[in-house]
């Protein structure tokens, strides 16, 4: 049974400009799980995240994400999902405050939520009134993450989230994922890093647009070798 807060893919193929970026992909994820996506470039990690965000449509097969059926329910899924891709989605000509204020207006949330989120990621102070164009890559990432936390999505979709973040930012993000999943959210994290799964959770090894192997990390901080479980 596809519970309201789980994810299930059955034989999903997503073609991008004729190329099968995802091929015949099937998996199930329960509420509260963290899934690390690993694999070489072009394995389909980003496309999987974009499909989970409702930005790409399955061309074959079907999926159920948080009670939303794909293909078909992309727009309602977008409202539930929180995606942080390689692009920040920020307006370069607006200040940090204005970008987050736009998020507040579109989400219909209180400004104290935005303030808290901005405070958490340290973009409330000196950077607050600066144009995004003048920020560094890591600072932009912090602003984008603040918007993501303010949205409080039910499914977190993070593409290489650690890139250009400093150690404090990485720890903060990891902690957020742990806390969000504790509260029933699902997190998908695409990463090249070897320590994927150090916060606990599943590791899906993707190759050629599909999952080739799965490993489960028993406890946080466990750095042992992943056990290969063929699909």
């Amino acid at each position: 049974m596809p519970a309201d807060d789980s994810v299930s893919f059955s034989s999903v193929t997503v073609t991008l400009a004729g190329f099968p970026a995802l091929l015949n992909l099937s998996f199930e994820v329960e509420a509260g799980e963290t899934v690390y996506l690993r694999g070489p470039n072009g394995a389909g990690k980003t496309t999987l995240l974009r499909t989970l965000a409702g930005l790409e449509k399955p061309t074959r097969g079907s999926a159920m994400v948080l009670g939303v059926e794909l293909p078909g329910g992309e727009r309602s899924l977008r409202a539930l999902a929180g995606m942080m891709g390689t692009r920040s989605h920020l307006y370069e000509d607006l200040t940090v405050a204005e970008n987050l204020d736009l998020a507040r207006r579109l989400l219909g949330i209180s400004s104290s939520r935005i303030d808290d989120a901005a405070e958490l990621f340290g973009v409330r102070g000196r950077l607050w009134k600066q144009k995004v164009a003048s920020l560094s890559a890591g600072q932009k990432r912090r602003v984008a993450l603040a918007g993501l936390v303010a949205k409080n999505p039910r499914i977190w979709l993070l593409d290489e989230p650690h890139s250009s973040l400093d150690a404090a930012g990485r720890d903060l993000l990891d902690k957020l994922i742990v806390e969000a999943t504790k509260r029933g959210a699902i997190a998908f994290v695409a990463t090249h890093e070897a320590e994927a799964g150090r916060a606990g959770g599943r590791v899906l090894e993707m190759v050629g647009g599909t999952v080739r192997a799965e490993a489960r990390e028993a406890s946080p901080g466990d750095e042992g070798p992943a056990s290969e479980v063929p699909e």
């Binding site: 930005l55 727009r75 999902a81 607006l94 200040t95 207006r105 579109l106």
Partner: protein, 221 residues
């Protein structure tokens, strides 16, 4: 929906407030074109006054194309439009929000260009009301069609140079009828009960409806 449309409009206006592309680049461009017409057609004032109505709308249309391109360029940086889409936003809210911000910039452009034409070429002005109402209607039509084709031709690779080719022929009826409104407004007895104003108003209503209906399919892929 209205709240979100306002958020989008406010965002586009703030971008203009910070970047001043319309104010510092597009409006001066329109004035430069007017001056160029003056040089190219010699200073035979009679001719320039006669062609003033058509000249005004040609200059406004071409300058507006820059504003429309700009309106989509800011959405392409950092894939910001994708960010809007990720809020589960109704494309209609994006359309009306962007249209409001674009129309506001076009009104300023039109006021400056009209003042420039009146000062430089000295055509008679009989009815300001007719001029203003026809300009509002034509602006909404140009904005609507421009936004739809901006969305249709937007892609990472190309599209900005395609926009004029797509927009200009579609808007030919607006240029014709709006220019005729200005011509009629030159006569002393002109008022807002002008046959061309009715025509431009009907066309604008059609283009606005077409734009609102087509923007969603054009934006979401």
């Amino acid at each position: 929906m209205i709240r979100r449309a306002w958020a989008v409009a406010r965002k586009d206006m703030l971008i203009e407030v910070h970047s001043k592309v319309a104010l510092n680049q597009v409006i001066p461009f329109a004035l430069a074109v007017l001056l160029t017409f003056g040089f190219a057609l010699d200073t035979r004032n009679q001719l320039l006054a006669e062609i003033a109505p058509g000249l005004f709308w040609v200059v406004v249309l071409f300058s507006s194309l820059y504003l429309i391109s700009r309106s989509f360029r800011v959405e392409r940086e950092n894939a910001a439009m994708e960010g809007l889409v990720l809020y589960g936003i109704d494309p209609m809210a994006v359309f009306f929000g962007k249209l409001a911000a674009l129309a506001l910039q076009m009104f300023v452009l039109e006021a400056v260009a009209a003042a420039g034409i009146v000062i430089l070429f000295n055509p008679p002005v009989g009815s300001l009301g007719l001029l203003a109402i026809s300009a509002v209607a034509a602006t909404l039509a140009i904005g609507s069609i421009g936004l739809v084709y901006g969305a249709l031709s937007s892609s990472e690779q190309s599209g900005e140079s395609l926009l004029p080719l797509l927009v200009i022929p579609v808007l030919a009826p607006i240029v014709i009828s709006a220019a005729k409104c200005w011509s009629d407004a030159e006569s002393a007895g002109a008022g807002i009960y002008d046959p061309w104003l009715k025509i431009v108003a009907i066309f604008s209503a059609v283009f606005l409806a077409v734009g609102a209906a087509a923007f969603g399919p054009a934006m979401e892929d």
